[in-house]
């Protein structure tokens, strides 16, 4: 059989709460330390213990890190999903199982290889106590995989030491468990398998980080001082990350007091209210949430839009509608976020595609929110937010100065003849604002009810419309300030692929694969809303455009139709919305189906 070095995918099936995620993380990290590009997707249930959970690891020497739905090896440790797992191994692939119990002989496939390792038996013999036995069974399969895939044992040992160095008992158990798995395989089986690893140097300038941690770092670096939140999967770890970073980096060196305030609100309505209050008072403030939270924040988002108050909201999208599948990914809030709230509204949105962009766009979101005095929504998703991605190291430009927008300070107010909050002084649609507690001349009355350009209450038609019109101009002008689309390709292909967010990796891979097959395509990933002229231009320049996205109704396509004015029929749609990340195969199938060449 062909060797497949540094190019394969494995999947580990277990149950929630058994500790398998330590083992999975260990494997991922070991491969990464071997210098080989790798990604992991954690498919966990919306409960705490006992339901099926999977972990997918894709190794790809070329750096393609999108999810692939084809698995060379599956570690099937969950009896409840065993049949389904067996079915998912590619023909000619391998299935690792715990041979402590015999395989159900009637349900076996003949085109795959079964690898039995007596995980439970070995661990029961080596460890005492139910907990430890269960936990170490997982570590033992990591050892087994180490031998089967040729994971560098030095790396494994080093990692275990780093992790448990300060807990000698744990360290010992872990090392024993790894050895159990490793040695059993080495002694009893032919290894490594034809799918195997070989050291590279492709990850030296990279990190393995999840998008929520990266976004939290972005908030830290942007100088956010107030965070308000209500726990919700998959957004929770943004605030948990931010809290951790603040505890480390935001203590007053003398008093050890906090230079930040994090409020766990009673719900999402309160969380966004707090962000609005804090931003109004002059802090950089943000709240992380998911779809249900955005729905609940709708009324307040309209207030912030109309009263022109900055607010940064992270929407880590999950599968909706309603509670949906809270632990599965989707891009189902694109329309809601763009136009949230009753009346005429439009919100600036940013669309990171990976943790690195989550970091960068977190920073950008505050600049835009303060510059345009309006909510900015950063739409990531569960895949970006909660999975570890390999991305280039984050960098920081120390010359960065926050763009606080048009805020008048005490001296400016003192010097000013007059101050009117909603006056378009500069003709760019952006008025000046003042902060409470700064200067008597800065005072004005913020309200979501009708107001004129001087900030006074009004029910006069013309005065009311004047302000609304200016706000439309203002928000639309942000199109030139949101991150420009990511483009790739000659620009001359007949076919254009358009996407957003975490579909990026799958699209790039599909593009490369199709190029190999002789089908050249151009590529654009939108990164901000409202769209700039370049977005329309890209569509216009291609005979056929495919919009790739993860929702049922083609929401990105809808936004493109509404905002660029291109005809609907100019945009074909490729949609995946069952909770799994996009794969290159999904993209290619979609494109090729329309080329009369079914993939």
């Amino acid at each position: 059989m062909n060797q497949r070095v540094n190019d394969f995918a494995i999947k580990i099936a277990s149950a929630n709460g058994t500790g398998s995620s330590s083992a999975n993380g260990l494997i991922m990290q070991a491969i990464f330390r071997m210098g080989i590009p790798v990604t992991g997707k954690n498919l966990f249930p919306s409960n705490i213990q006992g339901l099926p959970t999977w972990y997918e690891i894709r190794v790809n020497g070329n750096g393609y890190t999108a999810r692939t739905p084809i698995f060379d090896l599956i570690v099937a440790l969950n009896a409840a999903t065993f049949d389904k797992d067996v079915a998912e191994v590619r023909s000619g692939g391998w299935l690792l199982y715990d041979s402590t119990s015999p395989l159900p002989q009637d349900r076996l496939r003949s085109d795959i290889t079964y690898i039995g390792v007596p995980l439970a038996k070995m661990c029961n013999e080596s460890f005492k106590g139910v907990r430890e036995r269960i936990l170490m069974k997982n570590i033992a399969y990591a050892g087994a995989l180490g031998a089967l895939l040729d994971i560098d044992t030095d790396v494994l040992v080093a990692l275990t030491k780093e992790k448990y160095g300060r807990k000698p008992a744990l360290l010992e158990s872990n090392q024993t468990a790894i050895d159990l798995g490793f040695n059993y395989v080495k002694e009893n089986l032919d290894c490594p398998l034809p799918i195997r690893l070989e050291k590279m140097t492709a990850t030296e300038e990279s990190i393995l980080i999840d998008g929520n941690t990266a976004a939290a770092l972005g908030c830290l670096y942007a100088g956010a001082t107030v965070g308000a939140w209500y726990p919700i999967t998959p957004a929770t770890s943004i605030m948990e990350g931010f809290t951790g970073f603040c505890q480390k980096y935001r203590k007053d060196p003398e008093s050890n007091q906090n230079r930040y305030a994090i409020l766990q609100a009673e719900d999402e309505l309160a969380a966004i209210g707090m962000v609005i209050g804090a931003s109004w008072a002059g802090a950089r403030a943000f709240t992380p949430t998911a779809g249900p939270g955005i729905s609940l924040m709708s009324e307040f988002l309209g207030l912030a839009y109309y009263a022109e108050i900055p607010a940064v909201v992270f929407d880590v999208q999950r599968s909706g509608p309603s509670t949906g599948m809270p632990t599965r990914t989707q891009q189902g809030d694109l329309m809601l976020c763009a136009y949230a709230s009753h009346g005429d509204t439009k919100h600036i949105c940013l669309y990171p595609s990976d943790p690195r962009e989550a970091f960068e766009m977190a920073v950008k979101s505050f600049d835009l929110a303060e510059r345009f005095q309006t909510p900015v929504l950063v739409l990531s998703d569960l895949d970006i937010g909660m999975n570890d991605w390999m991305v280039p190291k984050l960098t920081w430009d120390d010359s960065y100065e926050p763009d606080r927008g048009k805020v008048l300070d005490a001296a400016e107010l003192e010097a000013a003849k007059s101050f009117y909050r909603y006056l378009d002084v500069d003709g760019d649609g952006i008025p000046y604002r003042s902060l409470p507690g700064v200067h008597p001349k800065g005072s004005y009355f913020t309200r979501g009810s009708g107001h004129n350009k001087f900030g006074a209450y009004t029910e006069d038609s013309d005065e009311y419309r004047e302000v609304l019109d200016r706000i439309a101009v203002k928000v639309n002008s942000a199109a030139d300030h949101v991150p420009a689309p990511f483009m790739r390709g000659s620009g001359k292909a007949r076919i254009g692929i358009i996407t957003v967010g975490s579909c990026h990796a799958a699209c790039l891979e599909a593009m490369a694969l199709m190029a190999k097959d002789g089908l050249e395509v151009d590529y654009m990933r939108v990164r901000g809303f409202p769209f700039g002229k370049d977005v329309e231009h890209f569509i216009d320049s291609h005979d056929e455009n495919f919009v790739v996205e993860m929702n049922r109704d083609g929401q990105l396509r809808n936004l493109l139709i509404l905002e660029t004015g291109v005809a609907a029929k100019r945009l074909e749609s490729i949609r995946i919305y069952s909770g799994m990340p996009m794969s290159a195969a999904n993209v290619m199938e979609g494109v090729l189906a329309k080329q009369g060449v079914l993939a």
């Binding site: 830290l220 942007a222 001082t225 308000a228 305030a261 609100a265 009673e266 719900d267 609005i276 008072a281």
Partner: protein, 351 residues
Amino acid sequence: MSFIAKPKVHHPALQRNEIGLTRRDYEGAITTLCAGCGHDSITAAIIQAFWQLSIEPYRVAKLSGIGCSSKTPAYFLREAHGFNSVHGRMPAVASGAGAANRELMLIGVSGDGDSLSIGLGQLCHAIRRNLNLTYVLENNGVYGLTKGQFSASTDVGSTNKRGEPNTMQSIDSVLLALSLGATFVARSFSGDKQQLVPILEAALKHKGFAFIDVISPCVTFNDHEGSTKSYAYTRKHQLEVVQADFVPLREEITAEYEPGTEHRVVMHDGSTVRLRKVEEDYDPTDRDRAYAYIRESQTKGEIVTGLLYVSEDSREMHEQLGSIPQSLTKVPYRDLCPGSAELEKLQARFR
């Protein structure tokens, strides 16, 4: 030409306070509430309290939700920033503003609809947080701005303008606040400026959440049972036209009385409210006795007023959070950003 006489704030000789300001400097826009509305009297008391405390108006932030009551921050302290937010959600906005800038002096004004129905959860959680905010609930037992529906503070048996009685028990905001562990709880009456002003002053000085429920008659829509008796003629006329849109001109109700005494106040429609001011030797530092006392009076049909409870060891939100004493908005950016070298370093974790 003006059709309706508005409550005037008097300026006896334009007296100046310690920082040289007159009461006029603490005023705001002209009220657009109904003549005689209790809320306007509270506005006057707020003006008086700030003036007496010699607070610089611009250091104050005044917040509210939506309702007639919630409009009033526009009518005092024109040099302070105001924020008329959304219905029932002022506590969240105030919490955010307070989190960002603890040097601001925060005053929030709300109504019984705003606080006890749509905003009940937020009110309770602001109490729990012990946000450093003076919270004035202008309680008229009715939805004024939406024209006379029952609110959660409407008493059982009280009737609406069509004469239908309320059957649901009312929420007593003061009992609620006490049961939640509020650190400052008071009740007063819009017409008793003599009582209200010092309570407001104490509240503004309290470190933590200072809750003041102020009974504040709605001249237009409150219409209690029994009111037909003495004003039969008026009512007969009023019924039809109120539905049209006539709002009668009314004098504001005032009542000043001595501590320890009970006082009957006749409302605009002839109904009576019995107010009892706590005795001078009342111990406002015992939360549980305060609760028991209020409950007892309630069963006697009396409404206890005064500063009912104040905790002597209130720890406001920022103390709990361990924040720096300054406003977070004053921390220079260079003290907030760890910089590129640290970013490089901390990423070791992600390898």
